[in-house]
């Protein structure tokens, strides 16, 4: 075998190894981003469930007002959800007027979390007030 043939073989081997490494790295990155996308969607789902259903204000006649939050319902809220077969925990914050109230456990430092802040209304002091609902979610 000549020196040229040895060099060609070496370059071919380097190409094959690089291809395998790049493929493995891209696959890992794809899995990471898919997991982040899943967490992002879970956070959106939790925020929607809270605003549309669980924290929605119900008046004396039994009419439910989606996207209007009732702060009285925060006392009985559980901060765990199962979404798509996976368990998530979350913390919420409610920002209105000059107040910023936080409910639920603080997010753990060693886990990836996703935060989302959405606009909403708040039924407070017999008025519909502008407010912001913040949700921070992570895998349980």
């Amino acid at each position: 075998m000549t020196l040229t043939q040895i060099l060609k073989m070496l370059v071919a081997c380097i190409l094959v190894i690089t291809f395998i490494l790049v493929s493995a790295s891209a696959y890992r990155q794809h899995r990471t981003t898919s997991a982040l996308a899943e967490l992002t969607d879970a956070t959106s789902t939790i925020a929607t469930q809270l605003a549309v259903d669980e924290l929605a204000y119900v008046d004396g006649a039994g009419n439910k007002y989606s996207y209007v939050l009732d702060p009285g319902k925060l006392e009985n809220l559980t901060f765990e959800r199962e979404i798509g077969g996976e368990n998530f925990e979350f913390q919420i914050s409610l920002c209105y007027e000059s107040e910023n109230r936080t409910f639920g456990l603080a997010p753990p430092e060693n886990r990836t979390n996703c935060s989302l802040v959405v606009a909403c209304s708040l039924w407070l002091n017999d008025r519909f007030q502008l407010a912001k609902l913040g949700v921070i979610a992570w895998h349980a």
Partner: protein, 155 residues
């Protein structure tokens, strides 16, 4: 150098170019699910902004921001005076807009338009939520006003 040798080197160079292109495409494609999820969150934010403006009352009145704006477009004597509403609405849009984003609201009826927060530069992306508000005039006539709320991204 022999012809066979040049052909081998060209083939290897071509494979190397293919490898680099393939790697770039794989990395670009792998970010798409995250970008799509982020866009879905922004759509959700836009929906919430619309609903918040539709339900929250203008202080100290008992009428919502969008209804007050629709009244200003249709009625001679709206509940909330025009200059006060403009100030309150722009404060509300400023309060509700996420960092690096701007919100505008446009109400239209019979060619007449009422725009809040109109001096916005060209955005990189925008999310739109539209709907209608029904106002009853003094004679009992129902008037429908078109509402479009836009969330502009500058990132």
């Amino acid at each position: 150098m022999k012809d066979g040798g040049i052909a081998d080197i060209l083939a290897m160079a071509f494979m190397f170019v293919l490898l680099v292109l393939g790697a770039v495409l794989m990395y670009a494609y792998s970010l798409r699910p995250l970008q799509a999820a982020t866009d879905r969150q922004l759509e959700l934010k836009c929906e919430h902004i619309y609903k918040a403006l539709e339900t929250a009352w203008v202080e100290p009145y008992t009428v919502s921001f969008l209804r007050a704006a629709a009244e200003n477009l249709v009625l001679e004597h709206p509940t909330v005076p025009g200059p006060y509403l403009r100030s309150a609405m722009e404060n509300a849009l400023d309060y509700l807009s996420p960092p690096d984003y701007e919100i505008s609201a446009i109400l239209t009826r019979d060619g007449r338009t009422l725009t809040f927060n109109e001096n916005i530069g060209p955005p990189s992306k925008q999310f739109v939520r539209s709907g209608t508000i029904s106002i009853t005039r003094a004679g009992g006539e129902n008037v429908v006003v078109q509402v479009v709320v836009r969330l502009f991204s500058f990132s």
